[in-house]
C-alpha cells in the first residue's frame, strides 16, 4: 500500500479521525475568517459599482459562493454517503450526515439573498422559474435527509437510509446547474465559467473567487466540528473516548 491509501485507511478509524479533525478544524476556521475579511474588503470597498445594477450587485459576493456551496456540499455528502453505503465505513457515514445541515444552511442563504437581490433588480422577491424552483427543491431534499436521519433510532441505520435518499436527490444538482440553459428563466446564465472566459470584470471577479474559497473553508471547519461531536457520541463507550475527555481518570 502506498502512503496515500494508508493514510486513507487510518482516517477510517474514528479515533484517528477525531484527533485529525480536532487539529485541522481551527486552521480552516481562521483561514475562513481571514479570507472573508479580505474578500469582503475588496468586494465592498475596492470593487466598482456595476454598470447596470449599481451597488446592489454586491450581494453577489455572498449569493453566488453560497449557491456554489449548496451544490458542492450536496455532491460531497453524496460521495461520503456512497462510500458509507458500500463499504460501511463509520467515518464516511458521519461525514455525510454532518454535511447535510451545512448544505441546508447555505441553500437557505442562497434563497434569501437571491430574493433580496431579485426584488430591487427584477422587481419580484420570488418567481417560479426553473432555477429558483430547483434550488428550493434542493432545500427540501436537504430537510428530508436531515429528517430521515433524525427519525430512525439506530444511528448507523439512519445514516445509511439518509445516504440513500441523498443519492436519489443527486439528480437535482445537474438540473439546478443547467436550468438556465435548458429553459427560459428569469435568472440569468452563469457568470463564472471554469472553462472559458468569465463575463465579469477582474476587479469584481477576485473578491467573488476569494469568497468562494472562504465558504469552502467554512464548510471544512464546520463539518469537522460536527463530525467530532457525532463520533464522540457514537463511540462514547470506547476507552479512547474516555481518554480524550478525562485523561487523568482513564489511566486509573
Amino acid at each position: 500500500m502506498n502512503k496515500l491509501t494508508l493514510w486513507f485507511h487510518k482516517l477510517g478509524s474514528p479515533e484517528y479521525f477525531y484527533r485529525f479533525a480536532g487539529r485541522w478544524a481551527p486552521w480552516a476556521g481562521w483561514s475562513f475568517a481571514l479570507l472573508t475579511v479580505i474578500g469582503l474588503y475588496l468586494g465592498m470597498f475596492k470593487a466598482p459599482p456595476d454598470y447596470q445594477q449599481g451597488e446592489s450587485y454586491r450581494i453577489i459576493f455572498i449569493h453566488v459562493p453560497s449557491a456554489w456551496m449548496s451544490m458542492f456540499i450536496y455532491v460531497a455528502m453524496s460521495a461520503a454517503g456512497f462510500v458509507g453505503l458500500v463499504w460501511r465505513i463509520k467515518v464516511a457515514e458521519i461525514m455525510a450526515m454532518a454535511s447535510a445541515p451545512i448544505g441546508a444552511a447555505f441553500t437557505l442563504v442562497t434563497l434569501v439573498t437571491g430574493a433580496f437581490w431579485g426584488k430591487p433588480m427584477w422587481g419580484a422577491y420570488w418567481v417560479w422559474d426553473a432555477r429558483l424552483t430547483s434550488e428550493l427543491i434542493l432545500l427540501f431534499i436537504y430537510l428530508g435527509i436531515i429528517g430521515l436521519y433524525q427519525a430512525i433510532e439506530d444511528r448507523r441505520t439512519a445514516a445509511r437510509a439518509a445516504s440513500l435518499l441523498a443519492l436519489v436527490g443527486l439528480v437535482n444538482i445537474p438540473i439546478i446547474h443547467f436550468s438556465v440553459e435548458w429553459w427560459t428563466t428569469l435568472h440569468q446564465g452563469s457568470t463564472v465559467n471554469l472553462m472559458g472566459e468569465s463575463s465579469m470584470h477582474p476587479s469584481m471577479l477576485w473578491p467573488l473567487l476569494i469568497m468562494a474559497v472562504a465558504t469552502k473553508l467554512y464548510y471544512v471547519m464546520n463539518v469537522l466540528q460536527r463530525a467530532r461531536n457525532m463520533i464522540l457520541e457514537l463511540e462514547s463507550n470506547k476507552s479512547w473516548a474516555k481518554t480524550v475527555l478525562q485523561p487523568a481518570e482513564a489511566s486509573r
Binding site: M44, P49, Q225
Partner: protein, 59 residues
C-alpha cells in the same frame, strides 16, 4: 466615499445589508450550535461514566 454613502449602497442599503445579515447570522448559528452541543455532550458523557464507575465499585 464616506460612511453614510457606504451604508446607503446607492439606495439599495436595505437589500444589501439584509442579505449580508442573513449570511452571517446563518453561518454564525451553524458555528455556535456544534460548540454548545460539544459542551453538553462533555457533561453528559462525564456523568454517564461516573454512574457506571460507581455501579462497578458498588457491585
Amino acid at each position: 466615499m464616506n460612511w453614510s454613502e457606504f451604508w446607503n449602497m446607492g439606495g439599495y442599503g436595505f437589500y444589501v445589508w439584509f442579505s449580508y445579515g442573513t449570511f452571517f447570522l446563518v453561518l454564525g448559528l451553524g458555528l455556535i450550535m456544534p460548540m454548545l452541543k460539544r459542551r453538553s455532550l462533555e457533561t453528559e458523557l462525564r456523568e454517564q461514566w461516573a454512574v457506571t464507575k460507581r455501579r462497578k465499585r458498588e457491585s
